[in-house]
């Protein structure tokens, strides 16, 4: 089962490697991991997409909580939540493809943020599935480069991760 874990951790050198080291040393999966400081500069927020049985996820959560740099851990995917990922795609845009790429970007509510005579950079935000289907809908031969931020997650409504 896929899970999205959100962590608050001390914004200290080495905190990231404690978390990633835990996953590699105990053989847990990481599908994506993203981290950045929060409004409180002393803390970072990390989102980890992982998968495993209920027992494995329980162990992951317990092991994360054991790390001294980890302030709080929640599984945002266990209730109503929102996930978003940002993707930048550089595509070839010449001839007929130029118009087609613009149309595809519009359909997926992407934005073209860089234009040259031969290429576009398209910015797209959404769930992992939406980004995957956008890539699936493009002619693979025209994709020059893609970069994705990894998933960010947040609970809906009253579910707040804060200390």
């Amino acid at each position: 089962m896929r899970h999205v874990l959100s962590l608050l951790l001390e914004n200290e050198a080495g905190a990231l490697s404690r978390v990633s080291g835990l996953f590699s040393s105990r053989g847990y999966n990481i599908e994506s991991l993203t981290v950045a400081p929060t409004e409180d500069a002393s803390m970072s927020r990390m989102t980890i997409v992982t998968s495993g049985s209920d027992e494995v996820i329980e162990q992951i959560t317990k092991q994360l909580n054991k790390l001294v740099d980890v302030v709080k851990v929640i599984d945002v995917s266990e209730a109503a939540h929102i996930e978003r990922e940002l993707m930048l795609v550089k595509v070839r845009a010449v001839g007929a493809a130029r118009e087609e790429m613009k149309r595809m970007a519009d359909i997926f509510r992407g934005r073209i943020i860089d234009v040259t005579d031969a290429s576009y950079v398209i910015e797209l935000t959404g769930t992992q599935e939406k980004l995957d289907s956008f890539l699936g809908a493009l002619d693979g031969g025209l994709i020059l480069e893609t970069v994705r931020s990894g998933v960010c997650g947040i609970g809906r409504g009253d579910r707040v991760l804060k200390i």
Binding site: A13, G14, E55, K66, V68
Partner: protein, 569 residues
Amino acid sequence: MVLTGAEIVVRCLQEEKVEYLFGYPGGSVLFIYDELFKQDKVRHVLVRHEQAAVHAADGYARTTGKVGVALVTSGPGATNAVTGIATAYMDSIPLVIISGQVPTAAIGLDAFQEVDTVGITRPCVKHNFLVRDARDIAATLKKAFLIASTGRPGPVLVDIPKDVTAQRCEFAYPETVNLRSYNPVTRGHSGQIRKAVQLLLEARRPMIYSGGGVVLSNAAEKLTKLARLLNFPCTNTLMGLGGFPASDRQFVGMLGMHGSYEANMGMHYCDVLLAVGARFDDRVIGNTEHFTQEPRKIIHIDIDPSSISKRVRVDVPIVGDVGDVLDDMIAYLEAGSERPDAECLAAWWRQVDEWRSRDSLGYKNSNEIIKPQFVVQKLWEITGGDAFITTDVGQHQMWSAQYYKFDKPRRWVTSGGLGTMGFGLPAAMGVQLAHPGSPVACITGEGSIQMCIQELSTCKQYRLPIKIISLNNRYLGMVRQWQEIFHGNRYSESYMDSLPDFAKLAEAYGHVGLQITKPGDVEGALREAFKRKDDLVFLDFRIDQTENVYPMIQGGKGLNEMILSSEDL
């Protein structure tokens, strides 16, 4: 008061009332050593290899309950310390290790004696720090001692670059430190405790399984009280020996791969299992699938939530300090008059005693050749069961666990989790320093002792009258045993040729050495050794080369599938 970083380090150790600092100097820690020279509150013990510094601090910590402290230099000093740190981590021993680091400006430039110590030790410490500013030293060391000694204890490493030890800044040792992300639970959940007590009262075939957590939280007396209130059989893990008096009728011996028949059968067939400060390790319950086939309710008390339901799903988890939780359980029991069904218990005890009557630790003694079990039994007799015993790893470790009956906690010092050969002698140094005048024996083998034999020199320098009981069978015995049983008697690299004359080697270091080859001389040699109160005596017992450790559970087998002797193979 303005002090240098090095002065601050030493002042912090004094504030923490550190008696002994085990270490080895080097370039990056020169300023700290200079400050150590100028004071006499913290006594430095100069080992001969950094691994031994950490093991010695570990032995000190295990037998006193205090934090053990070691000091090593950067690069090879730190990497040599890693085995010791990992040993302490696996057995949850509170240590603070201070390592020197190259100057801040040189970090990352492949400087002389530079390694990423924080990176290398990260997976085998409870926590570690790199201090980049002298103003952070005091608070960091305060945190290090707090983290090492609270919750589930463990080693904490503090890496200090050389320039930081030379910086000057204001010093005040903080009374408290704020760690918002570190709040170990101590009190158990009262609802869960009540549920657990109810389950214990309803048990028909109960078993208490206790581990190192009971020793670490100083809860042996509480466990004993609870066990006696309930009249339940009790088994200890390797790490838990001494947590329940071995001479007590309710004690069924150690369990696990080389545990007693009655302990393992009881563990397998019980209907309610009370696990206290133990972690269902692979050497304890063997095959988890086999273990969980037999239905039983499990109550698990542990301070570390991640130890609960890690290998075996439990029914009543209780996160908390073992001692506090046992107190609460005893209080609930004493407040009520309900007790477990006496008839059921009597029937269960008859079953346990029937298993016990198999005498799974029985062995055939000999008049011709020294049996290792006999040596350990005699050692136990002569020391009145009250010596501090350290071991290395292998057959001798199992024989020590089986035949030295510990009635008190913190007498038994062994590397259980990591299984570190070379642990015994340096650990014994820490133990002897912590308990001057008390008998300390290191039971070892000719393989293990050679992994840290250089420490005979340290023992001489500090006049440590340790008794080294070497069960010398000229084989890496446990490897040989597995090769005999599982690899068709192909003794691949397990025979040791060209061994030194250990008695003479001990003499070369300035100690007393004796070689014993006849069973009739065993007792006399042991008595002679303990009579020499001021000398380290190295007893080289030439034992039966073919002796194996029994009983035994083969890998992948269940607790009820024990081999009691070679005839069962």
